[in-house]
Amino acid sequence: MGADIGSVEGCYRIAHDDVAWKVLDDEAVVIHSASAQYYGLNRSATVLWRCLVDGASAQTLSDILASRFVREPELAAAEAAEFIESARGWSLVVRDEAVSDSAVLLDREDSSAAERPDSAAVNGELYEPPRVVPFGDLATLVLSGE
């Protein structure tokens, strides 16, 4: 693990001005308008991504990983930090001090769902640390009129 939670202090949120995304079968696809790149998020990353809609701290994401995917707190902290660093590196999330982390969690309707242990994790199914996978470049889209 290359990141620790101290390296990603503060609150983060999705870079809404530059990003569009959609979840399909519990995995998100994210497109970035400025770079015209598209990315895939695995299942655990998608859980964290949803928490970043309104903003959250790395510590909150770490707590969610620990509770939802039954991870050791130290491991969860490192994975959450690495996820944020990677998403920030691709400009998919931005640091935003205006976001109130605790308020976000209390206000989120699905906060209980985010903290509920994931059935696959409880059943001992394969867990993958949250990952952002760069898939490539989106060429200009063409509407066919032939």
Binding site: K22, L24, G40, F135, L141, V142, L143, G145, E146
Partner: protein
């Protein structure tokens, strides 16, 4: 997620985010309203959102054709091209991904709500209505041919 599945989702996101992503029209089928190289702004829409006369964008395998909606029934939408009056296209309602809401040509933006756009739509629909009896005759002919086995046409 497999890359092709991700690309399909990404393309749909790109398509309906026309203010931020370039969506270009290719071909001559919607001339003169849409022409080769025009930038088209597409708004996300379902079959329930679109209206007769709208230019509807739908997903056909890996392509996104844009054609004018001329008729709707619960099972399918009938689409037509302004510059190809002899052909019609049938599309399942769940294939609809959006509708064109503006065109940008040489820096000029033409909105779907503009008089020019709506006038072109009305003209196109008038031409379609004149053509419609031919499509109905063709359809009846196909139905009859199916009911007369052994008759080659």
């Amino acid at each position: 997620m497999k890359q092709q599945a991700a690309l399909d989702v990404a393309r749909q996101l790109q398509l309906v985010d026309g203010e931020r992503f370039d969506v270009m029209f290719h071909g001559l089928s919607m001339d003169p309203l849409l022409f080769e190289g025009d930038h088209v702004v597409v708004e996300a829409a379902t079959a329930g959102d679109v209206q007769i006369g709208d230019i509807v964008v739908y997903c056909d395998r890996t392509e996104f054709p844009a054609r004018r909606l001329v008729a709707v029934d619960p099972r399918r939408l009938t689409l037509w091209c302004d510059a190809w009056p002899d052909r019609i296209f049938h599309v399942a309602p769940n294939a609809v991904v959006g509708r064109a809401v503006a065109r940008i040509r040489n820096g000029h933006r033409l909105e779907a709500s503009s008089v020019e756009w709506r006038t072109r739509a009305e003209r196109a629909m008038a031409v379609y209505r004149r053509q419609r009896p031919r499509f109905l005759v063709r359809r009846v002919g196909r139905g009859l041919r199916r009911r007369l086995p052994g008759r080659s046409v």
